[in-house]
Chain length 141, copies 2
Amino acid sequence: MRIGELSKATGVDVETIRYYEKAQLLSAPARSDNGYRTYTQAHLERLAFIRHCRALDIPLAAVQRLLTFVDSPQSDCGEIDQLIDAQLARVRARLASMHALERQLMALRGQCTGPHSAAECGILHDLVAAAHGEACVCHQN
Amino acid sequence: MRIGELSKATGVDVETIRYYEKAQLLSAPARSDNGYRTYTQAHLERLAFIRHCRALDIPLAAVQRLLTFVDSPQSDCGEIDQLIDAQLARVRARLASMHALERQLMALRGQCTGPHSAAECGILHDLVAAAHGEACVCHQN
DNA sequence: AGAATCCTTGGAGTCACTACAGGGTCAAGC
DNA sequence: GCTTGACCCTGTAGTGACTCCAAGGATTCT
Ligand SMILES: [Zn+2]
Ligand SMILES: [Zn+2]
Ligand SMILES: [Zn+2]
Ligand SMILES: [Zn+2]
């Protein structure tokens, strides 16, 4: 399988596949006489594994760790759990901060009521007031 | 005010302040005889404004646009609204995808029940199964 | 005088790609 | 035989918003 075929089969961009190779996530494939990369079914599965992990927003460093477990099935799965737990914690932390952000932005957005000059815009007013150390509608509690 | 004092007054790292200057968000301050930057109260407020926007995760390019409105108060505030709306939309999009991610990761996490070998770990099983094109617990709907 | 702290510039590193630039290879069509 | 177009190669630079470091100059404390 050439790189373009692998790309089509997995939906992963050609440049991304080469990037994974350089980043040591995908082992360097054999080369044909003209220097083209030739992939096997094993490469395809490994790439699919990586993309599935990335769909869960797992960092590549953690994906690399997970791949070592695929290769050594007899080792204990404790670290796998840890990696997923860490990812879950990260997602939850971001979820919470995104929630707070949404509230703050909605409050801020509500300060502008229709078209007027920037000098009279409640949004700008609030942002400037906060920069002066005064209370802002978005961060008041 | 020297850069260290400004840093302490605002809680913004010295390197970040210099970065904002290079990125043209903060105008270049006067220099004293020894070449040290000397900031005014106006700089402090501008920096606080930037940080407040950043607390709302507004991209620096958008912060730059907002700053032009601070400087020209007679212009119409329509673009201000647009910028905040765009930010709100971005936050909501990320919120939705973080929600989905949390569900997926919880489902995946539930596959591992106690300590065992990687070969028997439900998490790894699921990830590998998905790479084979089979259904995975995290993305099944 | 010497040490600690501050300031300067410039460049490299982060993450996970993405986008070239400048070339080589190969099959089909004329 | 030649051109066209689709592929492939390497290597480098860019993204956003910082963060870290090296190598040196200035100031301040003891
Ligand atoms: Zn307005
Ligand atoms: Zn606020
Ligand atoms: Zn397990
Ligand atoms: Zn899945």
